[in-house]
């Protein structure tokens, strides 16, 4: 009887499980991230193809501000640390630290997006518009898509904090935090690639 009760609690706590014994939600998130590799793969390879096509407007090497982007990259990297600390706190059922690290992660993400907005504005002032050259179009599309992903992540983090305060998170709270964490880390690893291929390797 006791074993049955334990088993029931386990199932209720972790939502539906697939025939593999793994959480459907987690399985779905990993499949989604696998498919996102194809999306960003397409955007990155298009940029690689077009980065040298500059008929008018500034060249990549003339406008990139590597020290500034390095700081942005560091901020996003550290947001991955705070996110994993939030997941760790959620698994320990430490609600206070979980909320704290989620908010810090969202703030670091907002700092990164703010930096990207500043970067786009300064590039535009230097003459690189969306339709100036193929380089400009592919650059803004790639980094813009990434920025949108970060922004969606920030919205999810803040929604999670709000729902947690109102005790409205369905199912296993630790798993929900972990799933959003997976998305956040994915956004970080995409930036690891973009930072190297777009900013550090000259055209």
């Amino acid at each position: 009887m006791a074993e049955t009760a334990i088993s029931h609690d386990h199932d209720a706590g972790h939502g539906a499980h697939s025939s593999t014994g793994l959480s459907n939600n987690k399985l779905g998130m990993w499949m989604f991230l696998g498919s996102e590799c194809l999306l960003f793969g397409g955007l990155i390879s298009t940029y690689m193809l077009y980065k040298g096509r500059v008929n008018s407007g500034p060249q990549p090497n003339n406008i990139f501000d590597i020290p500034f982007t390095s700081v942005s990259s560091f901020v996003l990297l550290m947001s991955s640390l705070t996110m994993v600390l939030a997941v760790s706190a959620a698994q320990r059922k430490d609600e206070r630290n979980m909320n704290l690290w989620l908010i810090v992660t969202a703030l670091l993400g907002a700092t990164f997006v703010g930096g990207q907005v500043y970067e786009f504005t300064s590039f535009y002032r230097e003459g690189l518009g969306f339709t100036t050259s193929l380089f400009g179009s592919s650059f803004y599309t790639l980094t813009g898509f990434h920025g949108v992903h970060v922004s969606v992540g920030i919205i999810m983090l803040m929604a999670l904090v709000g729902m947690n305060r109102n005790k409205r998170i369905p199912g296993d709270r630790a798993e929900v935090v972990e799933l959003i964490g997976l998305y956040w880390h994915f956004v970080d690893i995409v930036w690891i690639i973009i930072f190297t291929l777009v900013y550090l390797i000259p055209s």
């Binding site: 696998g34 690689m48 193809l49 560091f74 640390l81 760790s88 690893i189 690891i192």
Partner: protein, 110 residues
């Protein structure tokens, strides 16, 4: 008593499934990632000569795998997740390398 023990064992087993590292170890991993980023940025200021591209690609790969393995817990999680994610990644790399090869990207002079 037995139930309580089972519950504790069950909980510990479940946490072991999810917990990859301790908080302190996560901070160490982040420090390593920060150091790798610093080396990456140094390639902009220091001339690495013929080692420039290999250094950047190796650092990028190491950072990528470290975040996926430790922060995303793939190293400690079920192998099926690893297969799902890396199959998407490898498929993307193959498809887009083929795409770039079609446009003779790899024949362009650096």
């Amino acid at each position: 008593m037995s139930t309580a023990t089972e519950h504790v064992e069950h909980t510990e087993g479940h946490e072991a499934e999810h917990h990859g590292l301790s908080d302190k170890q996560y901070i160490y991993v982040a420090l390593i990632l920060a150091a790798l980023t610093a080396i990456e940025v140094s390639t902009y200021y220091i001339d690495f000569g013929p080692f420039f591209m290999p250094t950047l690609f190796i650092l990028m790969t190491v950072k990528f795998v470290t975040v996926v393995s430790y922060f995303m817990h793939l190293k400690f999680d079920n192998k099926l997740f690893t297969y799902l994610f890396y199959s998407g990644l490898i498929l993307a790399i193959c498809v887009y390398c083929g795409f770039l090869a079609t446009f003779k990207f790899f024949l362009q002079k650096g």
